[in-house]
């Protein structure tokens, strides 16, 4: 049933023995409750089928929830799992293994995209069904039935909390992954030639991105032992003092490493704003077009783009 590598929710949620104890305490689950749950085992064995059927009656009554169980085989399987889940409630041991099993259930619901409202709604029906059976079980002794229900409610709420923590952790995990992907996409460092790198910057550059660009550039320059890095800013919509400042800083840092920067993609309007803003970019090697920048960079590593026809050496631009 496990799909590929699952994140270790035990670790993410910091669920160790102490944490489990704290949780049990907060849900007011005492030894008394554990004893009561074990005593209810025979009751559970007897009515688990009925309760599961009742639960799936609700689930199958609405298209939204029914959609998660497309065929009879799936339905039969989840019903079996549901029975196992129910019996596990009365096992009497609520340790790390129990918690791990609960997290797995929560993760499975999250993975298939079951929204929390359906999960909670179904639980409500579940509790109602259990209540009915308990009243039956303790015929006439309502007080005892409600004590038993209170205990079961505690352990079910304990379970629900674990399931919800898994939901949230899974969402956070996805978000972090996406953020990392976006970060990576925003600074693609391309190797143009041996020891020549190219970084095209597309989109607005804020301080956070500028810092990240600088970091990537420096690490890549050292890792690839690049002599030159071309930074192309043709895709940056607005070059203001701040952006220019970031570029200057990056250039200076690259210089400290012992490599050089060539800045390309300077359009007429960018050139105008930069000078009007009074930004000093003269210390940076700049070019209007990327192709010119590549030529400059290649000449730094002692290479040159030459035309194939020996006589037309000067017309080497594309």
């Amino acid at each position: 049933m496990e799909l590929g590598s699952q994140p270790d929710y035990m670790k993410i949620l910091k669920l160790d023995e102490d944490e489990v104890k704290r949780r049990l305490a907060f849900f007011e689950l005492t030894d008394e409750d554990f004893r009561r749950l074990t005593e209810l085992k025979s009751f559970a064995d007897r009515c688990t089928q009925d309760i599961t059927e009742g639960l799936y009656e609700l689930i199958m009554a609405y298209p939204e929830s029914r959609a998660f169980f497309p065929d009879q085989a799936t339905l039969a399987r989840v019903k079996r799992l549901q029975n196992a889940y129910f019996l596990h409630l009365f096992s009497g041991t609520y340790d790390l293994n129990y918690v791990r099993e609960r997290l797995r259930v929560g993760a499975a619901h999250e993975r298939i995209g079951m929204p929390p409202k359906l999960y909670l709604g179904a639980y409500r029906r579940y509790l109602a069904l259990i209540h009915e059976r308990l009243l039956d079980h303790f015929k006439g002794n309502d007080a005892e039935a409600s004590t038993a229900l209170a205990t079961i409610r505690k352990i079910i709420f304990f379970d629900m909390a674990l399931a919800f923590d898994t939901y949230i952790a899974a969402y956070l995990e996805t978000m972090t992954r996406h953020q990392a992907a976006i970060r990576e996409l925003s600074t693609p460092v391309i190797k143009v030639y041996d020891r020549v790198l190219l970084l095209p910057i597309v989109g607005t550059v804020d301080t956070q991105r500028a810092n990240q660009i600088m970091e990537t550039v420096l690490v890549q320059v050292v890792e690839q032992q690049a002599k030159v890095i071309i930074i192309d800013i043709a895709g940056v919509p607005v070059v203001d003092t701040k952006v220019a400042d970031h570029i200057l800083q990056t250039t200076a840092a690259v210089q400290l490493l012992g490599a050089r920067t060539v800045l390309t993609g300077i359009s007429a309007s960018v050139a105008r704003t930069v000078i009007q803003l009074g930004v000093e970019l003269t210390r940076v090697d700049t070019r209007a077009k990327l192709s010119e920048g590549i030529e400059v960079a290649l000449s730094i590593v002692g290479k040159k783009i030459a035309s194939k026809k020996p006589k037309k050496e000067s017309e080497d631009e594309e």
Partner: protein, 124 residues
């Protein structure tokens, strides 16, 4: 404290590899040692390898830059090699660009740079 950073003479080049954390006193002693060594050996080039340094504060950066300038006054060209990305980022964020100081990616590059420079000097 003197002598805690070894300065090796390899042909016409002096090589100082900094492998310990640079406290202010160590840097002072280092500057002194380097200048004395230049005076003694008359080397035309100095390479300071800082690839082992994970952090450099502004004082150390200034001292290194000043050492290079002083060496220059004595006719010795300095190249600082192997600066780590994080160090470079910190320095420029502090506004310390070390302008006028020559740098190279690695010791190998630094040696090549000096060899090239000597060749052009010789041919002149």
């Amino acid at each position: 404290m003197a002598g805690s950073i070894p300065i090796l003479k390899i042909g016409p080049t002096l090589l100082a590899t900094i492998q310990i954390d640079l406290h202010d006193t160590v840097v002072d002693a280092f500057q002194n040692d380097v200048l004395l060594e230049i005076e003694k050996s008359g080397s035309s080039g100095l390479i300071i390898d800082i690839s082992a340094l994970e952090s450099v504060d502004s004082y150390v950066a200034r001292m290194l830059a000043n050492t290079a300038k002083m060496a220059k006054l004595m006719g010795t060209e300095t190249i600082i090699v192997g600066m780590q990305p994080a160090v470079a980022a910190t320095l420029v964020r502090m506004g310390y660009f070390m302008s006028g100081i020559r740098t190279a990616l690695s010791l190998q590059e630094g040696l090549e740079l000096q060899a090239e420079r000597r060749k052009t000097l010789d041919s002149e």
